[in-house]
């Protein structure tokens, strides 16, 4: 089975090939580039923006911006860090412009509750699936920066310093976000599950 790390390395290498082709004038290679990094862009955007239509618009803007600035990518950092930072900053600018920053957590909680009620039918769920849905629900209740740090670390497999670069903050702040987020998640899961269920 391919590990997250190996998969990310493969995506990075294929991304570099795409960039070289695009810079050589092969515009169609950008389609592969989009397919490689759309999950990363969407997973960051979905942690910060609630409305699906806005997410789509922002993700499109990010990829067009990435295309326009592709010749400025120097290879000093990973492509995922470069495009992740662009995504994070674009989302923050959008939220500042829309003045959604303070409301956003409430909205996400509301949406996720709705989402949960329609899907959470225990008859059809195994215990792990149930725990995973609960975890996502609890994750959505966390502040946006903690959610983003968790996603980048656990799902996208970025390191502390790469996350710090994406979120433009010190590495210590990233660690603090991650530690506090996991501590909160564990506490909240323990309120819903028996300790033995979590220990396995």
């Amino acid at each position: 089975m391919v590990s997250n790390k190996e998969m990310n390395e493969s995506i990075e290498n294929r991304g570099l090939i795409c960039i070289q082709k695009i810079l050589a004038g092969e515009q169609e290679a950008f389609r592969d580039f989009i397919l490689l990094f759309q999950r990363l862009v969407y997973s960051i955007t979905s942690k910060l923006i609630v409305c699906q239509e806005d997410q789509d618009d922002i993700c499109q803007t990010i990829f067009i911006k990435a295309y326009q600035n592709l010749d400025q990518f120097r290879g000093d950092s990973k492509i995922s860090t470069w495009i992740g930072k662009m995504t994070y900053n674009t989302c923050l600018n959008y939220l500042r412009r829309k003045k959604h920053l303070c409301l956003e957590d409430h909205h996400i909680d509301h949406y996720s509750n709705k989402h949960q009620n329609t899907r959470d039918t225990p008859d059809h769920l195994t215990e792990t699936q149930d725990m995973s849905i609960r975890l996502h629900h609890e994750m959505n209740r966390l502040p946006a920066q903690m959610r983003t740090a968790l996603t980048l670390y656990h799902i996208q497999g970025l390191t502390y310093d790469e996350i710090a670069s994406v979120m433009s903050c010190p590495e210590g702040t990233v660690k603090s976000h991650l530690y506090r987020a996991r501590q909160l998640l564990k506490k909240r899961l323990l309120e819903k599950y028996q300790k033995e269920e979590l220990i396995g």
Partner: protein
């Protein structure tokens, strides 16, 4: 017995180099409560890593973007080439000044006519720049030229290494 903090347990799972693994492992070995806490964090990590919430990416997402891509030709490589030529010229000029202002420069062996001419030109420049060759100005001009050359080399290295790295990685 003092238990491990949540931060220490998470740092141990993350493999954070900033903590003492030996001390943490020694404590985990003898403390059941901390082992339980570790196991619950490990479950949390597993659930987070294996169960990503499905993302609603439109099927035609890439097509939509491809249809909107602006016409753009990437000409920056030529600009970089000019930058490299400019830096190379600056480095050569700085080296030339260093040689000409050096009191040890012997110029060329005057075995041919063109060498004699060059020597005369160099000599004229050297005389016009004689004020630079005294101790203070001479040292200053050498320092500035040295910094110039160093800066040029660093920039050249950065320009080349990025392109090389992209090239190298793509060929793997």
């Amino acid at each position: 017995m003092k238990h491990l903090t949540d931060h220490e347990i998470q740092a141990w799972i993350d493999g954070d180099p900033g903590m003492n693994r030996f001390l943490i492992e020694a404590h985990l070995h003898q403390c059941r409560e901390c082992r339980d806490c570790l196991k619950s964090y490990q479950t949390l990590y597993t659930v987070m890593e294996t169960a990503e919430k499905p993302l609603n990416i439109p099927v035609d997402f890439a097509d939509r973007i491809m249809a909107q891509l602006p016409e753009k030709s990437f000409k920056r490589r030529h600009a970089s080439l000019w930058k490299i030529i400019g830096l190379f010229a600056a480095a050569t000029f700085a080296t030339g000044i260093m040689i000409m202002t050096s009191p040890w420069t012997q110029y060329f062996n005057e075995s041919s006519e063109w060498a004699q001419r060059l020597n005369r030109i160099f000599h004229a420049i050297r005389i016009s720049l004689h004020w630079m060759t005294n101790r203070f100005y001479g040292t200053m001009i050498w320092l500035i030229c040295g910094i110039c050359i160093l800066f040029c080399l660093m920039t050249l290295d950065k320009l080349f290494s990025c392109k090389w790295r992209v090239h190298f990685n793509t060929n793997q």
